[in-house]
């Protein structure tokens, strides 16, 4: 059972890693002026909810399967994702707003955020991998 949980987490984590990479690529495209803010933001906003959901699922899964350490590790990031999503002002078009992304260094902070998440997911990836192998061996 535990193995199944970690296999699922691993897959989910892979998806999140890819998503982070996609965020980074798209944002750096915007930074380099390859795409315009409008298309960049509409591209990214599409993936904000999947990311949120994907990450929340893992977190909840860890809670259910009583992996406290991993759960606590995931909690801040999941909270941040949710907070960010909820706090979008009513007039904005999503977490990424094309009219503001160039203002007040938002682009940079988004980029930073995506980088941190990438690192975090990579860390999680190996953790899940390890846990999965451990679980498989134990089985």
């Amino acid at each position: 059972m535990e193995a199944v949980v970690f296999v699922f987490s691993l897959l989910d984590c892979c998806a999140l890693i890819f998503l982070s990479v996609y965020f980074i690529i798209t944002l750096s495209d915007l930074e380099c002026d390859y795409i315009n803010a409008r298309s960049c933001c509409s591209k990214l906003n599409k993936w904000v909810i999947p990311e949120l959901v994907g990450h929340t699922i893992v977190t909840v899964l860890m809670l259910i399967s009583l992996h406290w350490f991993i759960f606590l590790l995931n909690l801040p990031v999941a909270t941040w994702n949710t907070y960010r999503f909820i706090m979008v002002p009513s007039g904005n078009m999503g977490v990424f707003d094309p009219t503001e992304i160039h203002n007040r260094g938002q682009l940079k902070s988004h980029m930073k955020e995506a980088m941190i998440k990438l690192g975090f997911h990579l860390l999680c990836f190996f953790m899940y991998l390890y846990s999965m192998i451990l679980a498989l061996i134990n089985d």
Partner: protein
């Protein structure tokens, strides 16, 4: 406060509390108003105004806004929502069935495409530099010269060529050879506003340009020093036949002025200054020159290696000795003889300064040739004694010489081994071209009178010097120095801070003790501490201003100073003179795409170095042709390199598609509310009057849509006997009934359009439709416009209540005067933002006219304009009969709106020197990529702000440059690029940073930032941030720079108005708390802050108060035969309001005249036309035209103030006891109110905060 709290139904009747209504009226009075005029008091400015045809003075009536107008709603009965318009005008219009079903997609309009393409840009060129006029205007400047040093040079900047065009006859005396050109340029100037560029024979695209650019440089030396009309008046009349002597004369008198103006502390006499000047010049070649010493010396060292060839110096001294006798102002017969020597001598001086400045401004990327300098120093030394002993006039001609021909000697003398302190690929000594002959020719061409002398002078030089490589120090704009005390004193004062002399701008001011902090004259932009030459070339502060005129070297230094760093732009300002350049290749840097500008350096004749990225570029072949002299090989004299504001006619490389025609679509609210308000009559009338003046060409197209709960289109296709109305009631899925015939050619369908405009106001008189489907109407408008792009003007009178984008009332009237939280400053929905972005993508701008009597959620509606680069006008409590002043204002604003210049499908890119980066933009636009602003439309009243940060240390450069390039399609279908370039020095000490602070620009930038903050965070945050801005900067100053241990609050003189302005900002409608402010008014004020250019924004923040019952001609200026008195500014405090006086307050969009109770009855009778105080009516919005002196003065003063802005302010005459006076007193920001500090309290508060 009976406004329907939270009532979703806009038709609910509401009344506006009188006080509020009035306040609202005043706030909305002049929406967008950057005018061509720079500062209000600037002499030149108002002169400028007279040239453009668009705006005359329109006496505006405004009855006092005792605004309770319960509009339409009250009369409204409950309405059948489905009422069809058929009932009302079926007779007139053939109304098809409910839905006219036609191909419902917007098919591209073939006609439009065909129309593109023609209009080959004729090779036109309007030459000329900035500013036209001088005479009167300059006397204004004269008036202020003593006030502040920045001012004088500011004026300089402005007056410039003007003098020439105005005084062409005079100029003709002075420059016989060029008089023709002057005349020419005058003409072209006049023509410019209407965009008629005298086109020249195709064969010679430069013909005209040549004149003008020639004109410009010629002008410069004089301009600098010419401060006043009087001055010129003195000098000009003297009929000195030989041109040069004329110049001398002129310059002499002028020089007097410049010194006067420039000596900030005390006013040393001209002579003194001159001598000083000279001596310092003389010492300049001394490596241990004090000036040079204090300044960055690395360059100095580069420069200094004493390589000066003795040969040269010998030759030079020889020359100078010959000249000595002639050094004094040449008598006519002497003139030709004297010339050479004079010139030479001047050269010497010039060089001396060159060195000086070289040192002081340490031009980094300069390929300056040190050899030149050596020689020059020698030269200068030789010349100094003679010049200092002779008349004070002598130095000036030098500058003249230097400007026009001064670069030659450099070229000649510069030896091949010039060790340029240039990090870039060192300029390989170019093949020594046969310079002398080449140069002589062009020079002579331009100034025959000077030529012989010059040549003579040059000859010995040349002979004495090793074959000079064309090092073109003249090209290096940084290096090229012209003598002038301005520069010297400034470099002494501003840069050498460490030395004993402290610049005026750093003088510590004890704010708590200084009672009259507000100067008597308007505050002018500080002048960047550059050398004179760069100062002259620099962009006008009206178009381009930086909050710090001395850029700190590192971000750390900037953080220490705690001052905001940013730019304020007014790029599309109405200019009376603008060099327009047609050329096949627009010269730009190959890596950063910077346009060539006056601040690039020419490494040699064939290469130039970009001043933003330092890349070395080739000079294209075409650029080598110098239109100035019709000669080859003088790229540094091209107008692009002589003017920091130029306009290029772009080639097809700059088009993504054929230039679009001017397309105007009017989307009109015709619901009951709108009909009640009656704006349709005014709009249609205004349109009828201005139909022919709409900017555009033969392709101009126009269309109309109206909406209530349905959307009505008007088929105006040519050939119809009358306009055809098409109604679309399916607002959930809007389609265009006949996409091809809704936007029609203005000229082909003019009759139909006129029919429609005549019929429109009466078509809906009986409507019972209260709903407003704004969202669907906008969607339809977008569909209609998307094939071409253009301008959509939306007139809305209530909260949109149907279909997409419907809004709910969010305002809680009880919260209006809350001191805590102000909510709902941001948009409620992203519908309008999305729509705006869609529009922006299709090059369509949406302008919003909001004429509402109740809450309409401007915060949400404004988004449609904010992100599509439109503009926003707000007329609270609009009613055509109940509120005639608003009606008149709408009428005036519409006139300006309809006829002002417009640019389509524009983009603006702002570039800055490597190391700086922009991180936040303010204004109405969409930021498409990091430095590219997408502006569907650009209008002359739009201002922008940009925040900067310093990413890399700027230690290896001494100058930074900013360039904005605005690429747009003119209404005539031409693609044009307007380029502004600003150059600022870099400093390394905190004191210098403070010395260069531009308080007005800082305040405007802070206001923009505060708006952002209050929307993204909260209003109280923004207010705290504003207060903190003052506290931080003043405490940083106190702890680092001023070592005086005062008990008071110390600020540098440059920032002495900072606390006052911040207090004004806190009491501004946008940011105030505690005073009842309607949400829409607040939001509108914020929108204004975001998109107003600096001049107008400053009046909004801090109004000007004048006493007008005792206007005298003392210090008056003359504008177009009118005498305009210049009363001193009063501080905004009730203590200044004496009962026996009358005061005028200029709030930018509103004028108030306050009449004291015991006001002089003569004034009341002579100016107001009433026998006594009691008989003055409560609502008075015009001054009668009485034939008395005081009336004339008052009117001419008010007219002059009005002339300075594009939108007409409304005038209110406020009696001391009338209820309207509260509005007036609201603006007295130095006084205490229940909710806010007085100025003194605020200072104490700041002091407390600092001490904490």
């Amino acid at each position: 406060m009976s406004a329907p709290a939270g009532s979703p139904h806009p038709a609910a009747s509401s009344r506006i509390p009188p006080k509020l209504g009035g306040a609202a009226a005043s706030g909305a009075a002049a929406p967008a108003g950057p005018g061509p005029g720079p500062h209000q008091q600037n002499g030149p400015a108002q002169n400028q105004m007279q040239v453009p045809s668009g705006y005359g003075l329109h006496p505006q009536s405004y009855t006092a806004p005792s605004g309770h107008y319960s509009q339409g709603p009250e009369k409204m009965t409950s309405l059948p929502l489905d009422s069809q318009c058929d009932d009302y005008y079926s007779g007139l219009y053939r109304v098809p069935t409910q839905n006219v079903v036609t191909p419902n997609t917007a098919s591209p309009q073939p006609g439009a495409q065909q129309m593109y393409g023609s209009v080959p840009p004729a090779p036109h060129v309007v030459g000329s530099t900035l500013g036209s006029f001088q005479g009167a205007g300059s006397s204004a400047s004269h008036l202020h010269t003593s006030a502040s040093q920045p001012y004088s040079s500011f004026v300089n900047h402005y007056n410039s060529p003007a003098m020439y065009s105005d005084n062409s006859s005079v100029a003709a005396q002075g420059f016989p050879s060029t008089c023709g050109h002057y005349a020419l340029s005058t003409v072209s100037n006049a023509a410019y506003p209407s965009v008629s560029y005298p086109s020249l024979p195709a064969g010679d695209p430069y013909g005209q340009q040549m004149f003008t650019s020639q004109n410009a440089p010629t002008v410069r030396p004089i301009r600098d020093n010419s401060f006043s009309g009087q001055n010129t008046a003195i000098s000009h009349p003297s009929p000195l036949p030989p041109p040069p002597s004329q110049q001398y004369h002129q310059q002499q008198s002028l020089s007097g002025y410049s010194t006067f103006a420039w000596s900030a502390s005390g006013l040393p006499s001209t002579q003194d200054n001159l001598i000083q000047n000279h001596t310092s010049l003389a010492t300049a070649n001394n490596p241990t020159n004090p000036v040079a010493d204090t300044l960055s010396c690395s360059v100095m060292q580069n420069v200094q290696p004493p390589k000066s060839s003795p040969v040269v110096s010998a030759v030079l001294s020889g020359a100078s000795s010959t000249r000595t006798p002639a050094a004094s102002r040449p008598v006519e017969p002497l003139a030709s003889v004297a010339r050479p020597s004079e010139l030479l001598q001047q050269k010497g001086m010039q060089y001396g300064e060159y060195v000086n400045n070289q040192a002081s401004s340490a031009p980094t990327p300069l390929s300056s040739t040190s050899d030149d300098e050596e020689e020059e120093e020698e030269d200068e030394e030789a010349g100094v004694d003679s010049s200092s002993t002779t008349s004070s006039a002598s130095p000036m001609p030098n500058s003249y010489d230097a400007l026009e021909g001064g670069s030659y000697p450099d070229m000649l003398s510069s030896s091949a081994s010039s060790p340029a302190p240039d990090p870039a690929p060192a300029p390989a000594p170019a093949p020594a071209a046969p310079q002398p002959s080449k140069m002589a020719k062009p020079f002579g061409y331009g100034y025959p009178a000077l030529q012989p002398g010059y040549q003579n002078a040059a000859a010995p030089l040349n002979s004495g010097v090793p074959p000079g490589s064309p090092a073109y120090s003249g090209f290096q704009q940084y290096a090229q120095q012209y003598p002038g005390m301005n520069q010297l004193s400034s470099s002494l004062g501003g840069l050498s801070l460490q030395s004993s002399s402290q610049p005026e701008s750093l003088r510590p001011v004890n704010l708590t003790q200084e009672r009259n902090i507000l100067p008597m004259t308007p505050v002018w932009a500080p002048v960047p501490n550059l050398n004179l030459d760069l100062k002259k070339l620099n962009c006008s502060p009206d178009s381009f201003r930086c909050t710090l005129t001395n850029i700190p070297q590192t971000q750390a230094l900037l953080n220490k100073a705690k001052l905001p760093l940013g730019l304020l732009l007014h790029p599309f300002r109405d200019l009376t003179q603008l060099p327009v350049i047609t050329s096949n290749t627009i010269v730009r840097c190959r890596s950063c795409r910077t346009y060539i500008n006056p601040f690039v350096s020419f490494i040699d004749q064939r290469r130039w170095k970009c001043n933003l990225c330092y890349r070395v570029n080739d000079v294209p072949e075409e650029f080598m042709y110098n239109p100035l002299t019709r000669s080859y090989g003088e790229p540094h004299k091209r107008p692009e390199v002589q003017n920091s504001t130029v306009e290029f006619i772009a080639s097809s490389d700059y088009m993504l598609r054929p230039p679009q025609p001017a397309v105007y679509l009017f989307v009109l609210d015709v619901s009951h509310n709108a009909v009640e308000a009656g704006y349709l009559t005014i709009l249609c009338q205004s349109l009828l009057e201005n139909l022919d003046k709409l900017p555009g060409d033969s392709r101009t197209r126009i269309g109309f849509m109206t909406f209530d709960s349905t959307i009505h289109f008007y088929n105006l296709q040519e050939g119809l006997s009358q306009p055809q109305m098409l109604i679309v009631s399916d607002i959930d899925d809007v389609f265009l009934p006949t996409p091809d015939s809704l936007l029609v050619n203005l000229y082909e369908s003019k009759e139909l359009i006129k029919d429609l405009l005549n019929a429109l106001p009466n078509m809906f008189t009986n409507t019972r439709e209260t709903h407003s489907a704004l969202g669907p109407a906008l969607q339809a408008a977008f569909k209609l416009m998307s094939p071409t792009g253009g301008r959509v003007s939306v007139f809305q009178t209530q909260l949109p209540s149907l279909g997409a984008g419907l809004l709910q009332s969010r305002e809680d009237p009880n919260q209006r005067s809350s001191t805590k939280v102000v909510q709902h400053l941001g948009p409620a929905t992203d519908f309008y933002k999305k729509l705006a972005l869609d529009c922006s993508g299709q090059q369509t701008a949406v302008d919003l006219f909001l004429l509402s009597s109740q809450y309409s959620d401007l915060a949400s509606l404004a988004c449609m304009s904010k992100y599509s680069a439109g503009c926003i006008y707000y007329y609270p409590s609009f009613h055509y009969t109940h509120n005639p002043s608003q009606a008149e204002k709408l009428q005036k604003d519409l006139k300006r709106y309809l006829t002002r210049k417009i640019g389509f499908e524009a983009v603006m890119r702002i570039r800055c020197t490597k190391g700086l980066s922009m991180h936040t933009f303010h204004g109405n636009f969409f930021v498409r990529s990091t430095d590219l602003l997408s502006l569907a439309n650009i209008n002359p009243d739009a201002g922008f702000a940009v925040q900067l940060s310093i990413e890399e240390s700027l230690t290896d450069t001494s100058l930074v440059c900013f360039q904005t390039a605005l690429l747009y399609t003119s209404s005539k279908g031409e693609r044009r690029i307007r380029v502004h370039t600003l150059c600022l020095p870099v400093v390394s000490s905190l004191a210098d940073v403070y010395a260069g602070a531009d308080v007005q620009a800082s305040i405007c930038l802070l206001a923009n930032m505060a708006v952002d903050r209050s929307i993204s965070s909260s209003l109280s945050d923004a207010r705290d941030a504003l207060v903190n801005a003052v506290v931080d900067s003043l405490s940083a100053y106190g702890s680092t720079v001023s070592n005086l241990q005062h008990s008071g609050l110390i600020a540098p003189s440059s920032l002495k108005l900072f606390p006052l302005y911040v207090l004004a900002l806190l009491k501004q409608k946008a940011f105030r708390t505690g005073t009842s402010t309607r949400l829409d008014d607040r939001v509108y004020a914020m929108c204004q802050i975001k998109c107003q250019p600096l001049v107008h924004l400053m009046k909004m923040i801090h109004p000007n108060l004048y006493r007008i019952d005792r206007l005298t001609d003392e210090g008056a200026i003359h504008v177009n035969d009118r005498v305009v008195p210049q009363p001193p500014l009063q501080k905004l405090s009730a203590e200044k309001l004496t009962r026996d006086g009358a005061f005028l307050m200029d709030c930018g969009s509103v004028f108030y005249i306050w009449i004291g109770k015991s006001c002089d009855s003569n004034f009341i009778e002579d100016v107001l036309g009433y026998p006594n105080f009691a008989s003055i009516p409560q609502k008075m919005t015009h001054l009668p035209e009485l034939d008395t002196l005081s009336s004339e003065r008052a009117r001419s003063f008010i007219t002059w103030l009005r002339d300075n802005r594009p939108l007409n302010p409304i005038l209110h005459v406020v009696k001391d006891e009338s209820p309207a006076k509260t509005e007036f007193f609201q603006h007295l920001i130095e006084d205490r109110t229940e909710a806010a500090f007085s100025y003194y309290e605020f200072l104490l508060h700041i002091q407390q905060q600092i001490c904490k």
